[in-house]
């Protein structure tokens, strides 16, 4: 396929499928289509990379330990609830 750098209609069509591509939820022909386009289109390549980075950051969002005071309160509340029933 010859990619015309001035024709962005193809970019817009692919734009709403980039997450499916990143998540590996596309069939082989669709995946190949995206890869061929991204290899030629700097804008879509930039978009794909920044979207990937965003997802990676979300996955690193960090986990907080449950505060001990809250955990104790939760277990006490459950005990009271159980004994009241």
């Amino acid at each position: 396929m010859i990619f015309d750098p001035n024709d962005h209609s193809h970019c817009l069509q692919l734009f709403d499928r980039l997450s499916e591509y990143i998540d590996g939820e596309m069939d082989e022909p669709q995946r190949r289509e995206i890869e061929a386009h991204v290899a030629e289109c700097v804008a879509c390549c930039a978009c794909l990379q920044s979207l990937r980075r965003t997802i990676a950051l979300c996955k690193q969002a960090g986990r907080q330990t449950v505060p001990a005071v809250f955990s104790e309160k939760l277990h006490t509340m459950i005990q009271h609830f159980q004994s009241a029933r």
Binding site: D23, A46, A61
Partner: protein, 206 residues
């Protein structure tokens, strides 16, 4: 009475099945084991869903109380974890509806498409090329959490379940009672929204 799957229905067995069956068979003294197993995960889910820490704690408490009340209705047809998160998601959504009556805004894809980027192609931005460990810092995590909180709830819950809790599309659809296609659309819009917020942070920083 323990709920048994109807004939011809799938009976899912997972790491929680033995414990859940024991509790439903009357060994309710084992319920705290279930709480211990999931309090950390639900606390973090609550912290992502609620801006306020006390709201997050209320969400965890109310979720476990609802689980205790309704566990007998669990039919072993899904993973227990999916059912638990469904209870948590419903608890979160009900809480919001009680406190606010505003309609949830949509995130139109057209506005999230970077027209300027498509019109004037540029190279991969530096923040997307740098090693992850170089860009991760407390300030960035703060920006990310603010961005997640600023997502409309129906997008936020999908982003949290898919990209933070790492549920599959199918499991997320089951938890939220949405079609997989709907989950994909909401997730993509949420990710584009978050990318836009993060890009703003890096454009000031670099």
């Amino acid at each position: 009475m323990t709920a048994e799957p109807a004939p011809n229905r799938k009976n899912v067995v997972d790491d929680d099945t033995e414990l859940v069956r024991a509790i439903n068979a009357g060994r309710t003294e084992r319920f705290p084991e279930l709480v211990k197993r999931y309090e950390q995960k639900l606390y973090n889910f609550g912290r992502r869903m609620c801006r306020d820490e006390s709201d997050a704690e209320d969400l965890v408490q109310d979720t476990f109380l609802n689980v205790y009340r309704y566990l007998k209705d669990f039919r072993y047809e899904t993973k227990f974890k999916n059912w638990l998160y469904r209870v948590a998601a419903n608890t979160a959504l009900k809480k919001r509806r009680r406190s606010k009556f505003a309609l949830e805004p949509e995130l139109p894809l057209e506005e999230l498409a970077e027209h300027e980027e498509l019109a004037a192609p540029e190279e991969v931005p530096e923040w997307a090329r740098m090693p992850l460990e170089q860009v991760l810092n407390e300030e960035l995590m703060g920006i990310l959490h603010q961005a997640i909180w600023s997502l409309p709830e129906k997008y936020r819950i999908v982003a949290i379940l898919r990209d933070i809790e790492e549920f599959s599309t199918e499991d997320t659809a089951q938890i939220l009672n949405l079609s997989p296609a709907n989950v994909k659309v909401r997730l993509h819009r949420a990710r584009l929204f978050l990318r836009d917020k993060l890009k703003g942070y890096f454009s000031h920083d670099l």
